[in-house]
């Protein structure tokens, strides 16, 4: 009896507590969600539609044919250099990640935890480079790469991006938070300098390293301008360039094939985001609040 009264009472108060503000924010959130998601959803729909269906009949609001989409994927893989471009982009991303993490963590270890002559000016100089726009270095870096004979090579693609000042900054900030006593304890335990790095600091930096790896992946996978100028040979193209080819003004591809190419390029970062979304969001928030 009392229970029933309480239940209806609480329900009424719950309904009456919905204010205009509540309605308004939900409406806004849903509108923004549509604006954000629809272009991506539309891309998916275009891919999974029978080719040739007029827009007026199927305005691509939902996918209609899974098989048709699959055929397009198979066709692209078979008839274009897409698979190789995928391999190039993956290699580019993974090698960059490995290099950025290794070089960055080694340098951050020293900059964050030890004192040595010249440390401050050196670190200051590297941090200053964060302020320098890519625009000013990209042409001379290209010229250097060309001088080295690295045009159209993987090392030419990867090497210039390895000394990431942003990565160093992120790792130094993180490592500064490690207790100094832990490093001293390791020293007393007989760990050599490199062993302290390898056995103590590196495992403790894992979280920051994962964040940096993901952000680096996003950046390299999405890098458009550097592959565009370093890889001029169509056989070496990365995904971003191949997508560019499909989209070129005089490419003879139909929209559904183009969107299939786009979708394939979008899958790795979208997957990454689904798996690591918290880390990505936190990493960006952290770099923002520290900057």
């Amino acid at each position: 009896m009392t229970l029933a009264i309480e239940a209806t009472g609480s329900r009424r108060s719950r309904w009456s507590s919905i204010t205009a503000w509540d309605l308004c924010r939900w409406a806004m959130a849903i509108c923004v969600t549509i604006v954000v998601v629809f272009p991506i959803w539309w891309m998916v729909n275009v891919v999974f539609t029978e080719p040739g269906t007029p827009v007026s009949i199927n305005p691509r609001l939902y996918p209609t044919s899974f098989a048709a989409g699959w055929d397009k994927v198979a066709m692209i893989m078979r008839e274009t250099g897409y698979l190789h471009a995928y391999y190039m982009s993956m290699a580019y991303a993974l090698l960059t990640i490995a290099g950025v993490l290794l070089l960055g963590s080694m340098a951050a270890f020293e900059f964050a935890l030890f004192e040595f002559p010249g440390k401050r000016p050196l670190f200051g100089l590297i941090m200053l480079s964060l302020m320098v726009p890519t625009a000013v270095t990209i042409i001379p870096t290209y010229l250097l790469t060309a001088e080295l004979g690295w045009i159209n090579t993987m090392q030419g693609l990867v090497a210039p991006g390895l000394a990431s000042a942003f990565g160093l900054f992120l790792l130094v900030e993180f490592m500064k938070g490690l207790p100094k006593e832990m490093i001293e304890a390791a020293r007393l335990d007989g760990a050599r300098h490199f062993q302290i790095y390898w056995h103590v600091v590196l495992p403790l930096t894992r979280n920051a390293m994962v964040t940096l790896a993901i952000l680096t992946f996003m950046k390299t996978w999405g890098n458009f301008i550097w592959p565009l100028i370093v890889l001029s040979n169509a056989e070496k193209y990365t995904v971003s360039q191949v997508v560019g080819l499909f989209n070129a003004p005089f490419s003879h591809q139909t929209v559904d094939v183009v969107m299939t190419a786009n979708l394939l390029a979008a899958i790795p970062p979208l997957l990454f985001f689904l798996i690591f979304q918290r880390k990505i969001v936190e990493g960006i928030a952290m770099s923002g609040s520290k900057g």
């Binding site: 207790p179 006593e181 832990m182 001293e184 304890a185 007393l188 760990a191 050599r192 403790l204 894992r206």
Partner: protein, 368 residues
Amino acid sequence: MAQLDLTGVAKKFGVVDVLRDINLNIRSGEFVVFVGPSGCGKSTLLRIISGLEEVTAGDLHLDGERLNDVDPARRGTAMVFQSYALYPHMTAAENMGFSLRMAGAKKAEIREKVAKAAAILQLEKHMDRRPGQLSGGQKQRVAIGRAIVREPKVFLFDEPLSNLDAELRVQMRAELIDLHRRLKATMIYVTHDQVEAMTLADRMVVLNGGVIQQCGRPLDLYDDPDNRFVAGFIGSPKMNFLSATVKEVRPDAIVLDRIGGSSTSLVMPFEGFDAAEGPIEIGVRPEHVRLAPSDERRDGDVEVDVTLVEELGDVTYVHATMPAGERIIARSDNARHRAETANRIRLDPSRFLLFGAAGQRIRPAGAA
């Protein structure tokens, strides 16, 4: 054997003198406590012994071997940090075995030594846990275990109990004393807590401003401090310090006048007072200041204003101000004084200590 000798040790950070001319001989098996206020250089001294800091001047010898240039890991010392400094990504067992692993010991040997240390500390059940899954006391024990595993000649502790709550601290103190007895190892322990120092030490080294103030057994320091700093630092509540003038010097006594700014004079037994001494100060511990019974008046009783009464159960401390405004604490057992605002105190001149203007102790002739 583990005889540690420090001769003329000094340390500067930049231009700041943190330690000056430290001379100390620590005998094998001794439990020595460095005590002093925060920032006096205790940790620095300990870190010099461990090798984490280098000396600016002076020498360290362990069993006659010069330590100055020996690598911290090979000195035969092991350190327990205040923050435990356990590696969060390793289990308790891995933490304790890390030094052996770094030294290239075999797996079986590591396992055996770690198990032995775990048994000593009754940690067997927790060896597979990470530091994050251990309580404060357990972490502390793992940290000690990490030191034990190395079988050092000298254990170094830097305020290892400050992160524990009061009850656990008392319990861990008892365990440390027990551990010292069983391992018979030399231990050097740093704390800013004089009560902890008194409980643990065979010998206490009181530091202030980077200088050793006095060194000796706890009660010797308590009863017979070398200077005003040691006298004030050891004991709780603190020793009372009162101004006074010497009115008359007799062969075996002196007459003290204007004690604490009052009109009181007292005769203090004291042999061979040097009349050339400048201004002096009296030190007297609260237990040697009593409240005079209300029905009995004597010469030398001082009228005071009571400002605070601490009734702790076993003892009662009465805080009061002397007529000229100097503060004094008197001890009174098993009595209630809460409502009182005025009282008379009675000082025991035979327990007075005299200090000179520079804070140095003035001892009777013939005393050590």
